[in-house]
């Protein structure tokens, strides 16, 4: 099995005898790990270094003598103690291990040739290595119905199962979704779900990865390849900003599987299903392999790169010549590599000269805030005994593996979390206290907690007494203006000077894009736009640009003539849907740089075919500021290419030079020379767990002025948030996951639903000052009174039409339609 013992710094050394030789181990660590670290791998099936040991499979039996004679003990359950003597190779141990293997194989089908696990199966490997040649078990083996689906993604073959408790332990202990369980007893024991209640966990794919046999298989990989046909490379998942380390496994230039890698500071080997199975989008037939240009007839049709790039360059030049550089705007870039983000920053700000650049789509936080706050790493937030103020989106939905880390921290490491938000979240069952802050009240609720006037006395005391407060900060509600969150952050900085912050922004490389300068008013490394020209640059913009909403407003009214969508889809992602629509219609030229013709690209004049995850090499930066490498495993379709290459080519057409000599790495090195934040990258490329940027915070101020209107006749305040499975392009293009997105819905508290007569799924009309939608209503215990929750980019109902960008909150009226 690929799991390795965790990295360990020996702080409390003890000496033990391992097969006659003295070795040093950490007092109290598990014997199985100490032996492996010292060169004696002990076979095992049930033990997993990231889960509590259960000592069930008995494969790891060794002879342990603590002074009272040698006895067979499961090395996964025995803590190392001084003077212990261990024999992992004695005849008795060998006989016991042979016996266990024979028992495990007694009822295990010999269908290795048709089993997905064949070739990478610990049971198969160990049977070859240690087992007898033939079985003495002549009886009929146990029979069960062959693979049964236990969820939309996972199949279970109970005949192959060796009852090691890994999947069930994971579901309970790690994911907190104990929907699979041992059923029945003794030799009749099996893993199964409750009838009619599938294993619908966001983390179900991990059970497939840790299954030591072929009992659990995932639909995207079933019968796709044999392990010996797979090639793999290590990389980082970029579906969200947690930055889980993965291996990307491919065969014949097609990615077939992602597996979690145990990165100690980040994902502990776990992945969410969206990240694990999201590679499917890369293999989609809807990928574009050539640039597309809108023809005379109004259709997008394939053109050569020269034509496309010339077209783009002339549109840009014309705009710059006509209305000045600010008439060109770049929107998006939070899904690019660091290198591509820097390339586009340099192209936009240094070559074209526009500062109308924003990698976020009105759904994030100002760059000044994110880069200005003193940072906290995931490990620091989850450190044993920490106190955490959580002011973010539902991590289980948006940053799933951060949720796993926080859940573990709260559940096992005594981390006390105070959650403040408009609804309960997936994390709520594990936090010290969940405090409701209705939309608009986030800052005032936080203020009261910190100045001791809150009615939540215990939570307030917890936060006020914390010596080293950690704050997770993000947007729990896209219908609440970002300034309210900014205000809360400013308040915390003022009253708790030592507090450190983990930004909970969602898009894969949003942190990297901000650090690369893909936001208005900033240069790489959070340097303020003030005339300093970075080395290798021609110039910098003279005028500060606008944020996404300002850019879109300018596009709508014609001040922005060329709108470049850098892997972004404002028509789907920008919360104020009508503004996005007006902007796309208003801009003279819309250029989309994307692997797909997404909803916005449908309206573009030019679509430049970009590569995507696993097709380009480079680096990415996760939400805490950790830079890790992305490796290329397959080639992009057709002539699609990396975003930075497109920037280089376009720069060329504009008569300038982006300064790339050999590879994208030149861009990273150039950025690192200028940016103090990137100082750690000056010495070389990040490997493995990566390197941390300087996250101590920069001297940036983000003003936060707003006024929350009193509740009006529109009696409920809207919360617009995300679910893990939605109708975003990448999910829609992943066949296994596309069907998992729910339908549009408005969720109400029982108290608000009752007077409306809402029960089950009544159709209601939700009306704001700006629009109305008809949608099914349900009662949700996570929703407090006074709030209506709708999900962003989910279903056919467009909740975004209810909003107007810049309004502090959005009040809605809900009526039975």
């Amino acid at each position: 099995m690929s799991e390795k013992p965790r990295d360990l710094e020996i702080t409390e050394p003890v000496e033990i005898t391992l097969n006659g030789e003295l070795i040093t181990a950490q007092n109290g660590e598990l014997l199985i790990d100490a032996c492996e670290r010292n060169g004696s791998y002990i076979p095992r099936f049930c033990y997993h270094p990231r889960m509590s040991p259960v000592g069930m499979c008995r494969m790891c039996l060794v002879e342990v003598d603590t002074g009272r004679g040698a006895a067979l003990q499961p090395s996964c359950m025995i803590p190392v103690s001084d003077g212990m003597s261990v024999d992992t190779e004695s005849d008795g141990v060998a006989k016991a291990q042979d016996g266990i293997l024979e028992f495990l194989l007694a009822n295990h089908p010999l269908d290795c040739p048709v089993c997905d696990k064949g070739g990478e199966c610990p049971l198969q490997d160990q049977a070859y290595a240690y087992g007898p040649g033939e079985s003495r078990f002549v009886e009929e083996k146990r029979h069960n119905e062959k693979p049964i689906p236990i969820s939309d993604l996972v199949f279970l073959d109970r005949e192959r199962c060796i009852l090691c408790d890994r999947c069930t332990r994971f579901a309970d202990e790690v994911a907190g979704d104990p929907l699979i369980h041992f059923i029945h007893r003794g030799s009749h024991t099996e893993v199964n779900t409750f009838p009619g209640e599938p294993f619908a966990s966001y983390f179900s794919g991990n059970t497939v990865q840790i299954c030591p046999v072929g009992a659990l298989t995932a639909s995207p990989y079933r019968f796709k390849a044999r392990p010996w046909d797979l090639e793999e490379t290590e990389s980082t998942c970029t579906r969200c900003s947690v930055g889980c380390r993965v291996t990307v496994e491919s065969s014949r230039n097609e990615v077939l599987r992602l597996q979690g890698v145990d990165s100690d500071p980040v994902n502990w080997s776990w992945l969410c299903d969206k990240g694990r199975f999201g590679f499917e989008a890369g293999n989609s037939r809807n990928r574009i392999s050539q640039p597309l240009l809108r023809s005379e007839s109004g259709e997008l049709s394939e053109v050569r790169w020269n034509t496309a790039l010339d077209g783009a360059a002339s549109a840009i030049s014309a705009a710059v010549d006509g209305r000045g550089p600010q008439s060109v705007a770049v929107l998006g870039g939070a899904r690019l590599t660091n290198e591509s983000a820097y390339a586009w920053t340099k192209l936009a700000k240094g070559v074209i000269g526009t500062d109308n650049v924003d990698c976020q789509l009105g759904d994030g936080l100002p760059a000044e805030l994110v880069l200005g706050l003193p940072g906290a790493s995931i490990d620091e937030v989850c450190e044993s005994g920490a106190t955490v103020l959580y002011l973010g989106p539902d991590a289980k939905e948006e940053l799933p593996v951060l949720y796993l880390r926080l859940r573990h921290a709260a559940d096992s490491d005594g981390v006390k979390i105070v959650e403040v938000g408009p609804t309960l979240t997936g994390l709520s069952p594990y936090v010290a206290e969940s405090i409701t802050a209705l939309p608009g009240e986030t800052a005032s609720v936080v203020a009261a907690l910190l100045d001791g006037t809150s009615e939540h006395v215990q939570a307030s005391a917890l936060l006020r007494d914390a010596s080293d407060l950690k704050v997770v900060i993000g947007r729990a509600n896209l219908a609440e203006d970002e300034t309210i969150t900014v205000k809360a952050a400013n308040l915390i900085r003022e009253s708790v000077p030592g507090a450190t912050f983990l930004p909970a922004l969602r898009r894969g490389n949003v942190r990297g894009a901000l650090e690369a300068g893909l936001s208005p008013g900033l240069l790489p490394g959070g340097a303020v736009l003030a005339g300093t020209v970075p080395p290798g640059w021609q110039s910098v913009p003279t005028e500060k640009g606008g944020s996404a909403s300002e850019i879109l407003e300018d596009a709508a009214n014609g001040r922005v003539e060329v709108l470049i969508l850098l892997g972004s889809d404002p028509l789907r992602d920008f919360p104020d849907r009508s503004l996005a629509r007006r902007a796309l219609a208003g801009a003279k030229t819309v250029i989309s740089v994307d692997p797909f013709v997404n909803a916005s690209a449908e309206l573009a004049d030019l679509v430049l075919a970009a590569s995507m995850f696993s097709e380009s090499a480079g680096t990415t930066t996760n939400l805490e500021g950790r830079v890790t490498t992305l490796n290329q495993k397959v080639t992009p379709p057709g002539t699609a290419r990396d975003d930075w290459m497109i920037a280089v080519d376009l720069t060329d057409r504009l008569g300038a030079d982006l300064g790339v000599e050999t590879s994208a790495a030149d861009l990273l090195h150039e950025m690192a020379e200028f940016s103090d934040a990137h100082v750690a990258l000056r010495d070389g490329d990040p490997v493995g767990d990566g390197v941390m940027l300087d996250i101590s915070g920069r001297d940036l101020v983000t003003p936060a002025e707003f006024e929350v209107p009193a509740a009006n006749a529109y009696s409920l305040r809207l919360v617009l948030n995300r679910t893990m499975y939605d109708k975003g392009t990448l999910l829609a293009e992943s066949p296994s996951s596309a069907g998992l997105a729910g339908e549009s819905v408005v969720k109400l508290s029982a108290a608000d639903a009752a007077p409306l007569g809402v029960d089950g799924s009544t159709q209601v009309k939700v009306t704001s000052e700006h629009g109305s939608v008809i949608v099914a209503a349900t009662i949700d215990p996570k929703v407090p009174k006074g709030v209506a929750v709708m999900h962003h980019v989910l279903g056919d109902v467009d909740a975004g039409t209810l909003l107007v960008s810049g309004d502090p909150v959005c009040d809605v009226r809900v009526e039975v339609s």
Partner: protein
């Protein structure tokens, strides 16, 4: 509803009734009956205990060497002392999940003298500082459940349980709960799992010794029903009188369920160590001789998990250390007598089948091995055995409960040296217990197996139940 033979000879003063004095008292199960009848006054011990310090009570129990009656014979007072200091809460769990084949004593104690058990539980709770007692009765014993429920209701009403017991600041709850059919739950860590609402699968000891990490990972004392039922008498009569019964190492009495091929099967309270198996089988007071004038073939001295004894061992006393020294155990006081009409293979299969059915499934060797053993034995009994099956059976058994190793020593020692208590490749002794009947039967009656394999003694499959697992 029961007409169980119990030793009720009141006149016989040389065998004191420590725990069974109310077995034949019609209302002995009521509070009134408990305070009026029997070998001591009900709840007098509790009153006395409440004038003592908890530490003094523990010392007294330790001095008496009250050995656990659940099978392991570990001194209760010593076990109580294992609670780590300063860790609260502590719990007392009463193990009334009697289900070791051949064992029948705790059910009688629960049905016929529930107050004696309750009083004993209160004394234990007081001594260790537990504010909650969980009385876990076997699920299949509704009569015991209703008798205990009634007794608890009476005792709560009489302020013998609950808040400020008898006007002191001693407050404790005794909660009745029960199982639902799983032999393994009689193992103390499995019982704790069950009491936490889980599958009754044993925990590894160490680290999960209940006295340190038990119920909800808090210090927990799990005591057998009979063990706790000894406490009222002990507190009434004192250590000296208690120790005057039985032997130095094993004082007091034991309830022995004598079953199988004897004329007078029954549950008898016998002094520990002073009675021999022969006396138990043959005397008119107890067994009254082997049934129908047959000869003794073998007997199980301490429940299904115990290796068998044979006629040459009948003169051993019923004393834990002596029986242990001879390679078996007195276990839970279950003596099963098998006469010369017994088919050793069939008896062996029946016992093995029990363990196969009751394996919890946690450890691979037990889950897979016990069923395999059963299949081989069934095959032999059905006349389908192969000559290699006996070696296979012994080797499968050896992989659940390894013989002495290194293996060379195993060969030298032959099968006579099967160690007891068993070594195990499993967490708990259930799987290894299945090895006891196999090694016992094969080392003594190998020819019976071989005859069946060679079809000299091909008997028809007599019981449909046998093949119905």
């Amino acid at each position: 509803m029961s007409d169980t033979a119990v030793d009720t000879d009141e006149a016989d003063q040389d065998v004191p009734k420590v725990v069974s004095s109310r077995f034949d008292v019609a209302d002995g199960h009521t509070l009134d009956g408990y305070t009026r009848s029997g070998s001591f006054e009900g709840y007098a011990a509790l009153r006395r205990v409440l004038t003592m310090t908890p530490g003094a009570v523990s010392e007294l129990v330790k001095d008496a060497t009250l050995l656990g009656r659940g099978g392991a014979a570990f001194p209760a007072g010593v076990k109580w002392g294992f609670c780590p200091p300063g860790v609260w809460p502590r719990y007392v769990v009463v193990n009334g999940d009697e289900s070791e084949p051949g064992t029948y004593k705790d059910r009688l104690l629960m049905e016929r003298d529930p107050h004696q058990l309750i009083e004993g539980s209160l004394i234990a709770a007081y001594a260790i500082g537990a504010a909650q007692v969980f009385l876990y009765v076997r699920g299949e014993m509704p009569h015991a459940q209703e008798r205990i429920a009634a007794a608890l209701n009476e005792a709560y009403e009489a302020n013998l349980i609950g808040k400020n017991i008898l006007g002191t600041d001693f407050s404790v709850d005794v909660v009745l709960t029960w199982g639902a059919g799983a032999y393994i739950v009689g193992e103390e860590t499995a019982l704790i799992e069950s009491l936490e609402g889980n599958r009754g699968m044993p925990r590894l000891k160490p680290p999960f010794f209940p006295a340190a990490k038990g119920l909800y990972m808090m210090p927990t004392i799990v005591n057998n029903v009979e063990t706790l039922s000894n406490l009222p008498w002990l507190l009434n009569h004192g250590v000296a009188e208690y120790r005057s019964i039985g032997t130095e190492a094993s004082p007091g009495t034991r309830l022995i369920a004598l079953s199988g091929d004897v004329e007078r099967p029954g549950v008898y309270e016998v002094p520990q160590g002073t009675t021999t198996f022969r006396e138990l089988f043959e005397s008119e007071r107890y067994g009254g001789g082997i049934r129908g004038g047959h000869e003794l073939k073998m007997f199980i001295p301490g429940g299904a998990s115990a290796p068998w004894f044979f006629p040459e061992q009948v003169d051993l006393p019923l004393e834990g250390r002596v029986v242990g020294g001879e390679g078996s155990m007195l276990g839970s006081g279950a003596v099963v007598v098998m006469d010369d009409t017994t088919d050793a293979v069939r008896a062996c299969l029946r016992l093995v089948r029990f363990f196969a059915r009751e394996s919890c499934g946690k450890c691979t060797p037990c889950r897979e091995g016990t069923v395999w053993e059963e299949k081989i034995l069934q095959r032999i009994l059905d006349g389908q055995g192969r000559p290699s099956d006996l070696d296979l059976l012994l080797d499968v058994a050896d992989n659940i409960s390894p013989g002495p190793y290194p293996l060379a020593a195993y060969a030298e020692a032959d099968l006579e040296a099967i160690p007891f208590p068993p070594r195990q490749t499993t967490i708990c002794p259930l799987g290894p217990s299945s090895v006891a009947p196999i090694t016992s039967a094969i080392r003594r009656f190998r020819h019976e197996f071989e005859d069946k394999i060679n079809r000299k003694d091909s008997i028809p499959v007599t019981s449909a139940g046998m093949s119905n697992v």
